[in-house]
Symmetry: C2
Subunit: 489 residues, 2 copies
């Protein structure tokens, strides 16, 4: 107190000047200013403000249910049974759903999904995950002790990056990420104060990964940091490419040679549409390369309940598998995750259903397969449709959407538009997307939010809207692009 | 590759020597070595290994359902309806449960709790939280814009600490925490590389907080860091005290005078048992102190679905309210939480039910009130029982368990036991708890995991086991303590 008893007039303790500088450096475009403006516009529409459109179409984020995709019936039945076990006596629920629920509840403390689970995740779920991986990667063992359940894949990715971040200045950990990338990576790297090391995907070759570019990027990074992690997203986000088996083998060989820890983000593993493309897990390829590699290369791979045909983003379920992790580090990892007690139990239960879905002969099998197939076929169709329509627009060129759930087309912007954007201090594709939003209600994410080669411009658009809405969206986009190009030419 | 084509023999990329040093410093006793041993013993029992007991009683963690507490029926009904909306046509479910479910679903994307929510949390849930706070703190406004839903309270606490951590060396952020403390605090401080600043609670005065001790601690810390945050847990964990209104006022005055950001961990706000004790929120006291304080002091307070009468730990639901946070910092906070997309939607829905429980006149009100009251009365009874029985044991002295769900009794250990522990490199109370576990199957957490005054020893024990089991536990403990004392005297 000052002498007259009043409190001294001081500023706030926590200000942008006193706060964590790494947090300030974080950027997350998928929920950035354009999405905030979209939410605002939705409110304005509700309040009766006149716009040249009637609804905002949010194609900015891979949020299937928000786009009208229905949840898988079996999953929700089991989740309801786990939540309110009195329903186990209800004959509306099929026996296989009840069996799954009973099994999950038996491995919960007090038979309740309201109990904390072990920090690494429910025992039987980790076993089921390991079995799923063994079925997926035929002939290769998976150890439940190497499985950690997570709060969505994001949580696992951040946790592994956290373990890996060390050193100062030139010895600081460098993390190699693709450009374009999913901005969780750049955001986490910034937050942890690690060094972002970019390698560029080859847009001309359908966003493929060239080892020579990895080599260039690594060499350049070694001048100023200690690059020790290589992150891969396959199928790609935001770029939708599916890596060939050969490419994965080359990447693993590169990681082994250069002593890099591999992180494989494989959350879109069921989202493969293009003919001739197939999902190959890094784990499987690693083990097929023989003991020289499989006993040496450190790998963490990630999966989630949020993507594929499930789209259960809200549950925040996921797992990671760690391969060749030093046992002492694994103990540190287990300790670290224990501080947050456990991932959400409902998300763990849902993850269990994904890896332990209805089998032939079980009462829910047919419905499950139909729902799954319908969703994946519709996505395949929409992937093709998106590519085709976008490529009819002069000034837009779109690689095939081989997998995942996004297109990342390149847009040609007139010089005058670029200059006007720069004068406003905006990235040119942000300027473009903002105008698109204001004029059509379509919400996309500018390519600058994911990174792109200097002088090129893109946007990311999900292929999730129902076909009729997607058609409207694509046609509006086409019309807008033509108008925009005219206006600024 | 080396010249003969073989891979060079290098060590692992990620080892305890190369990993994040801050992670190595993290300790989390609540799930530490003693709990790992307990899990091991449970496995041994299952495999038929003979022990002097038949089951492990885990009194180490506040995990109500695991201890047999039944979930609140209404909560689980609504959650089942949200999960599997076809049940909305089922007349087994009461109308108020259906209304709650409909309202939550309407504010979810695509009416599904499988959609991502906004990063700050579902709009209607944040409004309900604000209304709840206004009912709790009569006459004081709460703004939904100041509410952030979280993945359990832990998530919120870590996020605020993350914002606050800055500076280097002598300017590094110091975080004042009570000793004994809940080890989430020390663990997060270590992980963030902030400086832990201890202030000791007064065991002689029922674990109360003395301002003179805060002053001493602050002054000492200013010699080597920048103490700018003061954390309070009320009702106390692990110490079970409930702070008086006067004490809270003094703390706020101290924080205002010394320019400290206040963090109030109030997850046990319904767990108050002792006569004459009452829960006062920091927010309420702050605003009752008048505009000189209420317009100035920065406060974040935390709540959760995991404690009180709910015990829904597995859902990882929680919220925080931020008061007087700089608007630019709030924008940074919103950005930061958006990187993880959103807290689990089921946890958010459950949090909504906690703050929007059945009201008089609604069909579920009576059952809800009965379940709630039964749980809280049983806890009050067990709090008393625990204190009484422990205080009959020579060498154990236990403060009243005024609130929360733990006792933290002091134990007198014979010199010879202390020496034997030290020879083993163990904290003496760890040595004691480990022996207790091996001989009786009772799993407690040693006081050293929470911090305690040099030369004193304690353990933390939850009061959650059902009364009959709690009696067995307390009597076994009594017997063990007498035997242990004899053995080492």
């Amino acid at each position: 107190m000052s002498e007259n008893g009043a409190l001294p007039r001081r500023g706030k303790v926590l200000t942008v000047d006193t706060m964590n500088v790494n947090v300030k450096k974080v950027d997350y475009a998928v929920r950035g200013p354009i999405v905030q403006r979209a939410v605002q516009i939705e409110k304005e529409l509700k309040e009766g403000v006149k716009k040249p459109f009637e609804e905002v179409i949010k194609a900015n984020i891979g949020d299937a249910h928000a786009m009208g995709q229905q949840p898988i019936t079996f999953f929700r039945q089991v989740m309801a049974l786990c939540t309110y076990p009195l329903l186990l006596d209800d004959n509306k629920f099929p026996e296989d759903a009840k069996n799954r629920a009973r099994r999950i509840l038996q491995s919960c403390g007090g038979n309740s999904i309201g109990a904390y689970t072990t920090s690494q995740g429910i025992d039987c779920v980790r076993h089921d995950v390991a079995n799923y991986i063994q079925r997926r990667d035929v002939g290769i063992l998976s150890d439940p002790d190497n499985i950690y359940l997570t709060t969505g894949a994001s949580d696992g990715i951040v946790t592994i990056l956290k373990l890996l971040t060390a050193g100062e200045g030139r010895t600081r950990t460098g993390v190699m990420i693709s450009i374009p990338q999913y901005p969780l990576y750049s955001a986490s790297i910034a937050e942890l104060g690690a060094v972002q090391v970019n390698y560029y995907l080859n847009e001309e070759k359908c966003w493929s990964l060239d080892i020579s570019e990895l080599q260039r990027s690594l060499q350049a990074a070694r001048e100023h940091c200690n690059p020790s992690v290589l992150c891969i997203i396959n199928p790609g986000n935001p770029t939708g490419q599916v890596q060939s088996r050969q490419c994965i083998e080359d990447v693993i060989q590169f990681a082994a040679k250069e002593n890099l820890f591999l992180m494989a983000d494989e959350v879109y593993q069921d989202n493969v549409y293009a003919e001739g493309c197939e999902f190959h897990s890094f784990k499987k390829v690693l083990f097929e390369m023989g003991p020289e590699y499989s006993s040496k290369v450190e790998l963490a791979s990630f999966h989630s309940t949020s993507k594929c045909y499930m789209g259960e983003c809200g549950f925040r379920g996921g797992y990671m598998e760690v391969i060749n992790m030093d046992p002492e580090v694994k103990a540190q990892l287990t300790k670290l995750v224990s501080v947050r007690l456990c991932p959400p139990a409902p998300g763990q239960a849902l993850m269990d259903l994904v890896v332990n879905s209805p089998q032939p002969g079980e009462p829910s099998h047919q419905t499950f397969m139909k729902e799954r197939t319908d969703i994946l076929s519709a996505l395949a169709e929409k992937a093709k449709l998106t590519e085709q329509i976008l490529n009819t627009v002069p000034g837009i060129s779109c690689n095939p959407v081989q997998g995942a759930m996004y297109s990342f087309p390149r847009i040609t912007l007139p010089e005058r538009a670029i200059n006007e954007a720069k004068a406003k201090g905006q990235a040119p594709d942000m300027f473009y997307c903002m105008k698109l939003l204001e004029e059509t209600g379509i919400c996309l994410v500018p390519g600058s939010g994911f990174g792109q080669r200097e002088g090129t411009y893109h946007f990311r658009m999900t292929i999730l809207p129902p076909t009729d809405k997607l058609m409207i969206l694509l046609n509006k986009l086409k019309e807008f692009h033509q108008k925009f190009t005219q206006q600024y030419s």
